[in-house]
């Protein structure tokens, strides 16, 4: 099967194939086609799709539906993520499986409403109070929009934490030739349920601090408590400092690079060239400019490696460390004011590596030549 599809269409297909049964959204370019697609497709599989009165209701509906046992997704762009903010915290606190698609556009507030950008990268990580982690994965092609949507569902179901699928206008709204026979279809994994015959349900019970509690839906065989407040294993308000500490550590420790890697094997894509001292690091749509730049450089006899980061949060630090061994220069193109490069600067030894930022915020894709120029400039130290 060969089709001519865009990223948003692929995300809808991925969601349906992952078993998504609930979607709520509020129209916003460039994410609206996902809302429209889900309204078309979900009824066909017995699911529920709704245009909510605003983004707060969108994510609120999803959280409710998810806790009643449905796989749920919402999709928006930067302004909508802003309105999701408090509920993202709720989903973290209540350990709610939920896929959030962010089809980024450029700039703060309304910004360049129909144009591309990658400016939400730090925002999605730090966009809710408390500072507790989420997972964010970032496709670079229409094919990956499909597969990563399925992975996003798997990850959110397994870890019971909101998972962001980070797209952007150019990825979501550019058609591309898709050959389905060559596309990976990940195995679909569902959340772990408490056996129905268990007498008692402790909704937030975990044995080891990094375990994920077992799920039992509202309306199922058990009485369920869900709460926005710091809670004990029963979901009752906690006030003892030592217990609060454990609960908070649990939220922090239940996800990490190693655990995620088991369920999402594509956390990075490292195209290594032996003896290369230049490393290009990229993610999302910009990775595709970087791929061309690296091809061009190599065709000119230059040595350069390329690391594409697909797991943005939590930062795949050990993969980044591995990839940066031997690098004298790191070139990092981003369609923002220099955001993910901060993570790289945090991880590498800055006294040994020069970091070159390419930050383009004019809404257009970064031209591979712009990256090539930096590769040439930095060749040979």
């Amino acid at each position: 099967m060969i089709e001519f599809l865009d990223g948003n269409e692929a995300i809808v297909k991925g969601a349906i194939d992952a078993g998504c049964k609930f979607f709520a959204g509020y129209p916003i370019t460039p994410a609206t086609p996902i809302l429209l697609g889900m309204m078309q497709e979900l009824p066909k599989v017995g699911g529920f799709a709704i245009q909510a009165e605003d983004e707060i209701a969108s994510i609120g509906f999803c959280i409710g539906a998810s806790m009643a046992g449905k796989k749920a997704m919402t999709a928006t762009s930067g302004p909508g993520i802003s309105l999701y903010s408090e509920n993202i915290g709720l989903a973290i606190m209540g350990e709610t499986p939920l896929v959030i698609v962010d089809v980024q556009r450029q700039g703060p507030a309304t910004g360049s409403a129909t144009k591309d950008g990658q400016g939400d990268i730090q925002f999605i990580r730090w966009g809710t109070s408390g500072g507790y982690p989420i997972i964010a994965i970032s496709p670079t092609t229409v094919e990956e929009c499909y597969t990563f949507t399925i992975y996003a569902f798997n990850l959110t179901e397994i870890f019971r934490v909101p998972v962001f699928l980070v797209s952007s206008k150019e990825l979501s709204m550019t058609r591309q030739r898709i050959d389905w026979s060559r596309i990976e279809k990940p195995e679909v994994i569902d959340r772990k349920y408490l056996p129905e015959d268990a007498n008692e349900y402790k909704p937030y019970y975990f044995e080891n601090i990094d375990d994920v509690p077992l799920f039992s839906p509202f309306g199922g065989k058990h009485i369920v408590r869900y709460t926005t407040s710091t809670h004990d294993e029963y979901g009752n308000l906690l006030t003892t400092p030592e217990k609060i500490q454990i609960m908070m550590e649990h939220l922090d420790k239940k996800i990490n690079e190693e655990k995620i890697k088991k369920y999402f094997p594509h956390i990075v894509k490292f195209d290594k060239q032996d003896d290369a001292e230049i490393l290009v690091i990229s993610y999302g749509i910009t990775a595709r400019s970087a791929i061309e730049a690296v091809e061009l450089a190599r065709s000119q006899g230059l040595k350069v490696s390329h690391l594409i980061i697909n797991l943005l949060w939590p930062v795949p630090e050990s993969e980044i460390k591995k990839a940066t061994i031997g690098a004298k220069t790191i070139i990092f193109p981003e369609m923002n004011n220099g955001q993910y490069v901060l993570e790289i600067e945090r991880i590498v030894d800055k006294s040994k590596v020069k970091i070159v930022r390419i930050n383009q915020m004019d809404t257009t894709l970064i031209n591979p030549r712009k990256i090539l120029i930096e590769i040439i400039k930095n060749n040979g130290g």
Partner: protein, 448 residues
């Protein structure tokens, strides 16, 4: 004080509220109402808002969802949509009603089958007695210390305004409160009970509120008590089932764009089509891209048009290559097809950047508007020719001309894509347009 004895769903433990707090009086009535309906604790969810009222759910042996301030109705709706078997009861304060007003109005408007009980004590208890949307005019609160200068909201009228299902008002002095709550819960559709009560910590002492004064307030504002509004109309989830879930399943034909034709592409080729709203630029570009894929090529397409979609430019960018296309930006296209002045205006900068090796293919009416360019220029009577068929067919017609001129892949592929992807009536017109477009080249109707 308050330990509720002989309750059915409530735990026999002390409630956390201040002495005399109305919350402690409403909850046992809720318990009675639930008992009257014999609700299954596993199928019943108390969704609590934030505020003192938000502490309530912990005292019931039923499922509970304690969410964010003002958003309790959204979780309730989500739970209900996911599992319509649930009985979903929202307990919120007048604070929650204010901050979550839009959810209240929209849940009522949709007539979704949840019940909202407003613990209306005229101020925010939990945060220290600040005014709320229901604080009476002149009411003294922490933030209206000289008297409230705003007027109170009538929640029941709001429901009425959007024709929601059921709205009732009551007070903690009402002997029938439990029955009223039970009726609201049993109602199939959206229901609210606005219960007027005491915040003994703040509103009562600051305003010397008593039963008499509360009754007087009801009178002053003409706020009715009892069932204020009730209409039988289809519940939201039922409607969704009827209209969407049971929609007739259309047979969608799966279309695969398998390689069927040869191509003569030698390098990555970038094409821009600059037209106007109403010329079917976007959909024709998709047909064109599909035809390239039918010819064994890789293709990408992106579109640009103003938000006001029925007016102004409509520009599509297509890239063709023999291999996967990574970078999809076009700085200076190989081919630029111009079929409308709006499109031309949009691509002016591009025209100036085009190289000698590139080609502009333009409608004869627009030549005079063309700025200086290094590109070769070919002129065709697109508009005139298309108008003889159907003026909307101008884009596909011009693309056929382009194909006939460049021979990148066969015209037949374009026809096949039209047949595969378009409805018969439209396909017929487009096939005619393709023939006409190709003929323009055969006739040599171009000039340099």
């Amino acid at each position: 004080m308050a330990i509720v004895k002989n309750a059915v769903y409530m735990k026999e433990v002390e409630l956390p509220f201040c002495p005399g707090c109305g919350h402690s009086q409403i909850l046992p009535q809720l318990d009675k109402a639930m008992a009257k309906l014999n609700l299954d604790p596993r199928k019943t969810v108390l969704v609590t808002d934030i505020g003192c009222v938000g502490l309530s759910d912990q005292y019931f042996n039923v499922s509970a969802f304690h969410g964010l301030h003002g958003r309790s109705i959204t979780y309730a709706c989500g739970l209900k949509m996911a599992n319509p078997e649930l009985t979903v009861i929202v307990l919120m304060g007048d604070g929650g009603l204010g901050i979550g007003g839009t959810h209240f109005i929209n849940a009522a408007r949709r007539n979704i089958d949840i019940t909202v009980i407003i613990f209306n004590n005229f101020n925010f208890g939990m945060t220290g007695g600040e005014h709320s949307v229901t604080t009476p005019f002149g009411g003294k609160t922490a933030t209206t210390y000289l008297g409230n200068i705003e007027y109170p909201l009538d929640a029941c009228s709001l429901v009425q305004a959007v024709n929601g299902g059921f709205a009732a008002r009551s007070t903690i002095f009402d002997k029938n409160l439990a029955d009223l709550i039970a009726e609201a819960i049993a109602f199939k559709g959206f229901s609210v009970v606005d219960v007027w009560e005491y915040c003994t910590a703040y509103y009562v002492p600051r305003n010397e509120l008593n039963k008499e004064k509360m009754m007087k307030l009801l009178e002053t504002y003409g706020f009715k008590t009892g069932i204020v509004h009730k209409v039988e109309r289809k519940e939201y989830i039922e409607s969704y089932r009827e209209v969407y879930l049971n929609q007739p399943q259309k047979q969608v034909k799966q279309i695969s764009l398998d390689t069927e034709f040869e191509n003569n592409l030698t390098q990555k080729t970038e094409i821009i089509i600059a037209g106007a709203a109403g010329q079917k630029v976007k959909s024709s570009a998709t047909v064109f891209g599909s035809s390239a894929i039918l010819s064994g090529l890789y293709a990408t397409q992106k579109d640009d048009y103003p938000i006001t979609i029925m007016t102004g430019h409509s520009v599509s960018e297509i890239i063709l290559d023999k291999k996967e296309i990574n970078y999809t930006g076009i700085e200076s296209p190989d081919y630029l097809i111009i079929i409308a002045p709006e499109g031309l205006a949009k691509v002016k900068r591009i025209i100036q950047s085009m190289r000698e090796t590139s080609t502009i293919i333009i409608d004869d009416n627009l030549v005079s508007l063309l700025p200086d360019t290094k590109a070769k220029v070919e002129i065709f009577p697109f508009r005139k020719t298309a108008n003889a068929i159907d003026r909307f067919s101008i884009t596909i017609l011009s693309l056929a001309t382009f194909l006939a001129r460049t021979n990148l892949f066969p015209i037949e592929a374009l026809k096949k894509a039209v047949k595969l992807t378009q409805k018969e009536a439209i396909a017929e017109i487009n096939l005619k347009a393709i023939d006409a477009g190709a003929k323009l080249v055969e006739e040599g109707a171009y000039a340099k």
